[in-house]
Amino acid sequence: MVVTVLVLMFAAAATFADESPVVIEAIAPAVTPTPATIDTGDTAWVLISAALVMLMTPGLAFFYGGLVRRKNYLNILMQCFIILAVMSIQWVLFGYSLSFAPNTSSIGGFIGSLDWIGLKNVGPAPFSAYSATIPHQAFMIFQGMFAVITPALIIGAFAERMKFSAFLVFVILWATLVYDPLAHWVWGIGGFLRDLGALDFAGGTVVHVNAGIAALVTAIVLGKRRAYNSHPTPPHSLPFSVLGAALLWFGWFGFNAGSALSANGLAASAFVVTNVAAAAAALTWAFIDWKVNGAPTMLGTISGAVAGLVAITPAAGFVSVIPAIIIGIVVSLICFSAVSFVKIKLGYDDSLDAFGIHGIGGIWGAIATGLFASTAVNSAGNNGLFYGNAKLLGIQLAAVGITIAYSLIMSFVLIKIVDKIMGVRVSAKDEAMGLDLTQHNERAYTMLE
C-alpha cells in the first residue's frame, strides 16, 4: 500500500519535472531569483523527503542501539528520540534563523540574523533565494530534519558512559554554536564557504565531517569506557543494527535526492548515485572482511553501506554513476582501516565509530567531490580535478580544513564547559549497572515473563 503510494508519487513527480522548464539548483541558486511560483510536484517531493530524513534519526537509534550492550540500549534510543524533539523546537525558535536568515551585518558571512526567529516571516510563500518552487516552510522543515540527525550522529562516540542531563545541555549548545553557524557558512545567503565556491550537495561537511569531528573530541574528553581495555563489548543485537542501517539507507534518498529541492532530473541522478555508492561500499567492506577476518560479516556490510552513504552525500548532486562506485569502494577501504587499525593504534574509545565512519567518510566524500564533480551532471556545480579543474579540489580541502578546525575547537570548548558545570560522565557504579536503569529507571529487556 505504502509502496504503491510512493511509486505513484515518484511517477507524478517525474511527470511534473518533465513539464517544468525551470531548472532549480540545489546549492547555488541563481543570483537573480526565478519568479516564485509553487510547483506541486516539487513541494510534494520535498515534504516527503523531509519525512524520509526524519526517519533516519530513529533508524540511527536502532543502528547504534543494536551495537551497545543491552543494559544501555534504551539510553541510546532515548538520546536519539529526545534529539528529535529538542532540535525540532530549537530549529523553529531560533536555529533556522541563525542558519539561514540573510544577514547584512559585518558578521553576515559567519552567522544568520535573527529576522526569522520563531519562524517570523517564514510562511507558505517560497523564499526564492533558497527554493523558488516550494513553500518556505517546506524548505525550513526539510533543513530542520538535518539539524535533528547531525547531533544524533555524535552519540555513537560517547555511548554507554554519558550522563543524560549533561548530554541534553551539550546537544543544545552544540547545535546552536557549532551546527547553526556551519550550516550558515555552507548553505546560507552570504555564508563565506558558499561564496568561496565549495560544493556540498547534501551536507558532507556540515553534517558528517562536523559530527564526526565532534565525535572524536567527545570520545577523547569523556575517556574510555571502564571495561574498554580489558575486554570487548559485543553488540547486543545485530538484527536491530541491520534494521537501523536499512532505515538509514531508505531515509538517505530524502537526504540526498531531496537536496535537489525539486522533483527533477537532478533529484533522480542524486537518488541513483546514492544507491550505487551505498551498494559499492557495502560490497567492498564485506569483501575486505572476508579477506582480512576470514568471513564476510553482517556488521561489516552495514558499516560499509553507511560509510558509502556518508561519502556520497556531498557529491550526490555533482557526480555520475561510475565515480559514485569509486567513491563507495574507496570509502570502505579508508573507513575499514580507520576503525580496525588507526583507532586501536591511537587508543581512543569511539564506541560505535561515529568518527571512523562519519568523520573519515565525510572527509573523503568532500575530497571526492573535488575530484569527480562534473558540470555535465549539474550545471550549477563545477568541474573537479578529473574534469580539468584542479582549483575545486583546493576549495574543497579548504572547506574541510575550516570545518575540522571550527568543529574541533568549539566541540572541545563546549564539552569542557559542560563537564565543569555538571560533569559529563556517569559514576563507575552507574556505568557498571547500565544507563537504562540508572539514567531512565527502565530496562529494555526483562528476563522473566
Partner: protein, 140 residues
C-alpha cells in the same frame, strides 16, 4: 531413564553411607558463585590464570542484602526489583578449591554491596558422557 550399570552404580540406589564413602574417595567440590554481570570477564581471566578452565555460566536474577533498583513505567513504580546476576558453576578436585575461590574473589570483588557470594559443596560423582570416565579423572 536408562543408565548403564557397567558405567555407574546407579546413583539412585546408593545408601547414605555409600554416598559419604564416594565423596571421601573422590574428593571433589562443586563451586557455585553468584557475581555481578560486569565482573564476569575479570573472573574468567582470573580463573584462566589459576588454571581452572572448565566453567558453566548462566544468567540469573536475584537480590540479597542490596535493595535492588526502582523502575518506573508510565508513573507506575516497581521497587526492590531483582537484579541481573551471573551464576558460575565449577566442578573441581579438592586440590583446586583454594585457587578457584581465590580467583573468583579477585575477579568479582569491587567492594560494593552486590558483589555476590561463593557456595562450595561436596560433589558426589562426576561422569564424562563421551568416555564414561568417572570421578577425579572425569572432572578435569
Amino acid at each position: 531413564m536408562t543408565y548403564h550399570p557397567e558405567l555407574c552404580e546407579g546413583p539412585f540406589k546408593k545408601t547414605v553411607a555409600q554416598r559419604l564413602k564416594n565423596i571421601k574417595a573422590n574428593n571433589m567440590k562443586l563451586v557455585i558463585a553468584i557475581i555481578q554481570p560486569h565482573r564476569l570477564e575479570y573472573v574468567k581471566e582470573e580463573l584462566y590464570k589459576a588454571d581452572v578452565n572448565l566453567i558453566t555460566v548462566s544468567e540469573v536474577l536475584g537480590h540479597g542484602r542490596q535493595k535492588g533498583v526502582t523502575e518506573v513505567y508510565r508513573g507506575f513504580k516497581e521497587t526492590g526489583n531483582l537484579l541481573r546476576k551471573i551464576r558460575v558453576e565449577i566442578a573441581i578436585n579438592d586440590d583446586y578449591l583454594k585457587q578457584t575461590v581465590d580467583a573468583i574473589t579477585r575477579g568479582a570483588k569491587t567492594g560494593e554491596t552486590g558483589d555476590g557470594k561463593i557456595f562450595v559443596m561436596n560433589l558426589e560423582e562426576c561422569y564424562r558422557i563421551r568416555t564414561g570416565e568417572t570421578g577425579s579423572t572425569a572432572i578435569g
